[in-house]
Symmetry: C2
């Protein structure tokens, strides 16, 4: 399939089972989002957790009412139950199933949250001429657990997970400028340089994703990461929860530029 496929067409192929892979690189120029679906009695705590921790948990959309599986602001004819290539169903914090359609598991009490992801800012950085090492090396971005506490909200708490991209200092400064314009896809980096200062012991062994080369004179630059809410979900252990599978995102109709505040 052509990588330039527009989001609506891509979602239709996903819905019909013709596309079940990772969405990275598809429908370039459009926002892709992390999915989190929770019962309504857990939704308030999660919404507050996002509100209090906007850098790792930047909300780009949510359903209006429990049971809704449409989010018109994110896409025409979007059906949240079938338009993502792969889902994970958790019960009490345990992964129970991975499947391509959750229509049969949908309930009237479910609330959907869609969080921004780093694809959007990586695209902006690359468009500006910066090199993104995980893209160049064709691997997943390296991600690390840190010692930075998120702000607790009800039953949700945990430490922040960060993604890392190595850069020369001048490029890191430029990346701060560009990413500052995109607060709903994690915004500016939260740290650069010495990984120990945020509790990352071994930069060559990421907790999630893949290690990347850090060249001479480069510094690691760290962004708040959308895996953070997943870690909070693991700890909170809601009785029921649906997320996307890593890399298989919700492709929305929102142009990335629409997330820019400047």
């Amino acid at each position: 399939m052509n990588q330039d496929t527009l989001p609506l067409e891509l979602r239709k192929k996903i819905r019909s089972g013709l596309f079940t892979g990772n969405t990275s690189g598809y429908s370039q120029g459009f926002v892709q989002g992390n999915l989190c679906v929770l019962p309504v009695d857990w939704a308030h705590d999660f919404l507050q957790f996002c509100q209090l921790n906007p850098k790792p948990c930047p909300l780009v959309g949510m359903s209006s009412n429990p049971g809704d599986y449409h989010i018109p602001s994110l896409g025409i004819d979007l059906d949240i139950r079938s338009d993502i290539p792969s889902y994970r169903i958790f019960e009490h914090g345990q992964l129970k199933q991975e499947l391509n359609d959750v229509t049969d598991y949908w309930r009237d009490d479910l609330v959907t949250f869609v969080l921004g992801c780093s694809f959007s800012f990586e695209e902006a950085l690359i468009a500006d001429g910066l090199e993104i090492r995980n893209v160049t090396e064709g691997v997943n971005v390296p991600m690390y657990r840190t010692n930075i506490d998120c702000v607790r909200a009800g039953r949700f708490s945990g430490t922040m997970v960060v993604s890392m991209r190595p850069m020369l200092a001048a490029d890191a400064i430029r990346a701060v400028q560009i990413c500052t314009r995109f607060p709903s896809v994690h915004g500016a980096p939260i740290h650069f340089g010495n990984p120990h200062l945020i509790g990352v012991q071994d930069i060559s062994s990421p907790d999630f994703g893949d290690a990347v080369t850090i060249k001479e004179n480069e510094v690691p630059v760290f962004w708040a990461c959308g895996v953070t809410p997943q870690v909070a979900l693991e700890q909170a252990k809601p009785p029921f929860c649906i997320t996307h599978s890593p890399g298989a995102m919700l492709v929305t109709d929102l142009p990335n530029s629409r997330l820019s505040v400047l």
Copy 2:
């Protein structure tokens, strides 16, 4: 004298000889500028040098016609010949005199340039809660010659001079965001971290200004510096040139906020 003295009143005191010291800390909230006055046959090259090197040489004003000693856009009743506490007169690149009034040396062919200075962005950083070490320690900011070439313009060339402020990484990221809003006072930093990468051999021995403490876990953050054009002037050796004396700036009527582009 009260440090809150408004610029016009401060300039009147300066003009009458009642104030001859450094302007740092006076008329807070208002733009202070570096002065460079050149004969008209050197003005084009210098203007082009500023245009091509806007980070070290950010123009905030210039006189409209040769011989003009008023710059209405920078201040009411401003007389560039007498309203700066201390001037330096150079001939062929050599410092000839330091004096408090250059009215007697004024010529019909002189063009005045006023360049932004770091006082404006330091004020914005402090207002945001960041610590500026040279302010805390009550010394001049440390400045270093680098190996970064400026873009040549006619007879003007040279390497960039940078100022340095040590910060924790998170504060440095915030400083990038704040300073990006102020392109006419040097804008975002140009480097952080390893000083050798920009040709600074010994961070404890600045080429201009004073050394400051770099605490554990802090990184040096480097900004393009307004001493750069002075170094270019030393090399170009124009037959006649007037500058301010270091620290004795032109205090303008422009609020610092007026230099913010966002």
